[in-house]
Each structure stands twice: as structure tokens, then as C-alpha cells.
Symmetry: C2
Subunit: 238 residues, 2 copies
DNA sequence: ACACGGCTTGAGCGATCGTTCAAATTGCTT
DNA sequence: AAGCAATTTGAACGATCGCTCAAGCCGTGT
């Protein structure tokens, strides 16, 4: 008999627990989330959880593996599908995080970043998985930057820039949480755009006066415009 | 009778509690720190704590006010005393955070940043105080940047750059915690230095070919050299 | 039809959580 | 030296924490 109706009751018990725990850890943090809350949200009894996972610590680790698993299909691929231009993808990704945070009233931010500061000191296995999440994130962005070809300086270390993008994003999200509005995040993204402008200018002038093919891929569809550009004028969400 | 010996027993009860709580919140986070641990570390009984503070939440707020109070004397003034050049001060400050993290084996990072992600969603009063800590931090750095005069582009928004420095620092510390070593932080600081190089170059060429007085204040004493420069070559601490 | 293994149920475990309070002590005032 | 408020003491509270386990349910193989 197929299940329907209550979405929390669909899919396997294990998956429901992972999903509920992932969301709760993201919203409230690891320590602030009681097992009882996870049970309620997943619609499951204690015995079932402890049948699927040895304990809360292991659950955290599996949640981080789950996050690693959905990074591609849920986070990166939508951006890639909606935006073809490699550099635009970076800022589309930023906007996706922005939307996620705005939707929740400036709560949350990056699920991995939040856990990074809370558990990576005390829980080595979780720290390693958080690190792997970041590595996968930056690797994907690095791929985009490599696809940007000579729009960026030839000598530029694409991996290094990808890590810098993560640095700026996490720093911006952190300050946005502290401010209670998205202005710091928008400003951080605008400053990241400044950096890109500088790099693209550098790539355009140097390297034998090569014609820089501005917006080299006119791209399919994607009428995303400049919505988030020059956001020094702080928008006040909420 | 004046107290001596055990340093935790000197100074008023209230101060001892604040100091212990500040350190523990920094090391382990707010939720992971039990009141019992604070009591033990401060050498105090429950009644004394609840005589001085209504509860743990209020203690957190007072700790954040305490942090705001020591920001100048403990964090900023040592940097200002040791380093005269305004731009160098920025990187001396970064190195101070680096040292703090290295000393503790890559734990901790920024006490305020850690709490920002853990409590600012659920505790509005704490969020506001965290915000004020960040504002005070960036205001101080902004002062340095203003003192840099025309070594930076005239049109550059000094406050905006100060906030970007905080963004990069927090993002770098977060990734360093996740990596378990300081390489990501060093890389972030190196990239911040790239940004400064670009800005100083821009200020030097533009604005009527004015002679840029490189290292305008030869500075007193401070033989700090270039220790932390060009840190793309990732140092592997630990 | 029956046995069996995987999964779920939910009452309840001991430990720890943040907190209380009556009594004892301390330190200042007179 | 007596009085009094401020402070400290520490046993104990109810609530919640992460977690256990005997019992029951259910799908499958034979």
C-alpha cells in the first residue's frame, strides 16, 4: 500500500529522520536540537531512530553525508540549469543562498557553515565531513571558474578564487545573521563583484591585448538581469 | 584580607563568572557549556551566580557586553601600540587572531563570530549585542583605513572596506576550523592583501600622478617584517 | 499456515540540565 | 559590639536530556 498525504510519512524512516535532522540542525544548531524534536518532526519513535542510528553523534555525521549527497542535485545543478555563463553562475549561487535566507526571515544561512563553528572543535569526524562539504562546494565553483577561460587572468589560481568566494559568502552570511538583515550579505557579494570586475579587467588588458569577448556565451533563456548588482544601497528585508 | 594565588579567585565574583563564561562560550559554544562548568571554572556556587545574574541567557548578554568592553584594551590597542602604519595594523590584527587560534590548536577563532551563528536566530538581545561588537570592531578598523589617507583611492568607502575585512576574516576563521589547520585563514588573509595591493596601486596611478609615499610612516620599533606575506604556500600547522 | 527476522512501539531509564532557597557567613554602619 | 544588608553556601528541585528494551507488528519464505 503506497503512502500518501503527510509528506513526512513518505519515503523510508531513515530518510525522514535525516531530512528532519538536517533541517533542525540547520535552523537551531546541533546542541539546541533535542532528539525528541527530531522524532516529532520525522514522525517516528525513539526506538526507530536508535534502530537506524547508534546515537545523536552518528546521526550528525550521517546528516553531513546526506548534505554532501544533495549538494550537487539540490544546490549546484539548479544554478547550472538556470545560468549558463560561468561567472554569472557564481552570483546566481550567491543569490540562491540569499533567497534561502530571506525566505526564512534572515535565519539560517549556510547549513554547513553553521555547524562548522559549533561542532568542528569537539567532534573530529563531523569536522572532517564539514571539510569535505566545503571541498566539494569549492571544487564545483572552481569548475565554473575554469570554464570562464581567458575572461580571468591566465595565471589566476581558480581553486584559490573558489575558496575565496566561499570565504566571502560565509563571512557575509555570518554578519547578516548578526545584523538581522541581509545588507551585510549583499554588500559582501557586491564587493566580490568588485573583485571579479578587477580580474576581468586585468584579463582584458593583459595577455597581448586580446579582444575580451565580453559575455562570451549569450546564454539560453536566463533573463536574470542585474537584480543583485551594486547592492551598496542596503536593502532592508524585514 | 587580599586574595592571592589562584587567579580565578581574584577580583569580584561577578567578574570571575564573566571571564569564565566568556572563555567557555568561546571554546565550546553557548549550548554546549553547562552552568555547572562555569561554576567550577569560576570557583563559585550556584547561588552566587544566580545572585549576580538572573539566568544563563542574561549571563550570555552580559558576557557580550563584557566582550564589547575588552575589545578596545585587549584586542585593538595592543595592535595599535605595536604597529604604527595604518594598513599594517590591519594585517597585524589578522595575525593576532591567527596567533590566538594557533595557540589553541586551531580551536576557537573569533569569540563573537562563533556565538553569532549559534544564538543570533533564537536570542534577539544577544543578536543585537553581537551586532554591536561587530560594529565596534569595524569602526576601529575604519579609523585605521581613514588614517591611510590617499594611499587608498579617494573615492573608496572606508567603512565598507572595514566590513569586508571582517567578512574575510570570519570566513577564513570558519574554514580554518573546518579544515583543522590555519591554511584557509592564511590564504584568506593573503587574498585580502591582494585586494589591498590593488587598491594601493589604484590610488597611486590615479588622482593626478601624485607621488605615493610608500610606507609613509617608517614606524617606531615594529620589526614585524613580512612574516605572513604571500601565504599561498599553505603552511601546515599541526 | 506457520515460523522467523526486520522494524516499530512507547513507557521509562539514569544523568544532566538550569534553577531555587533557607540558612550561614561576611562586611559595612553605627 | 551589635545590627543589618549583601553575599555565599550547597542540597535539592522539576524538566529535559540522550537513550534502552521488552513486547508487538508485519512482510516474507517455505
Amino acid at each position: 500500500m503506497s503512502v500518501q498525504g503527510d509528506p513526512a510519512r513518505e519515503a523510508g524512516t531513515r530518510q525522514r529522520i535525516l531530512r528532519a535532522a538536517f533541517q533542525l540542525f540547520h535552523e537551531q544548531g546541533y546542541h539546541a536540537t533535542g532528539v525528541a524534536t527530531i522524532l516529532r518532526e520525522a514522525g517516528v519513535n525513539p526506538g526507530s531512530l536508535y534502530h537506524a542510528f547508534p546515537g545523536k553523534e552518528t546521526l550528525l555525521e550521517q546528516v553531513l553525508e546526506y548534505a554532501l549527497g544533495i549538494l550537487g542535485p539540490v544546490v549546484m545543478e539548479p544554478v547550472e540549469a538556470a545560468t549558463a555563463d560561468p561567472v554569472d553562475r557564481v552570483f546566481a549561487l550567491m543569490e540562491q543562498y540569499r533567497d534561502g535566507m530571506a525566505r526564512a526571515g534572515c535565519h539560517m544561512g549556510c547549513p554547513i557553515g553553521n555547524l562548522a563553528l559549533e561542532v568542528s572543535d569537539s567532534h573530529p569526524a563531523a569536522r572532517e565531513l564539514i571539510h569535505r562539504n566545503f571541498a566539494a562546494w569549492t571544487a564545483r565553483v572552481q569548475g565554473w571558474l575554469e570554464a570562464a577561460g581567458d575572461r580571468l587572468p591566465r595565471s589566476l589560481d581558480r581553486g584559490r578564487l573558489a575558496r575565496f568566494i566561499l570565504t566571502v559568502m560565509e563571512g557575509g552570511l555570518l554578519q547578516a545573521r548578526a545584523a538581522g538583515n541581509l545588507a551585510p550579505f549583499d554588500e559582501a557579494v557586491a564587493q566580490l563583484r568588485d573583485v571579479f570586475r578587477g580580474l576581468e579587467a586585468e584579463a582584458g588588458t593583459r595577455s597581448g591585448g586580446r579582444r575580451r569577448p565580453r559575455r562570451r556565451v549569450p546564454a539560453a533563456g536566463t533573463a536574470r538581469g542585474r537584480r543583485m548588482a551594486d547592492a551598496t544601497s542596503a536593502r532592508e528585508d524585514r
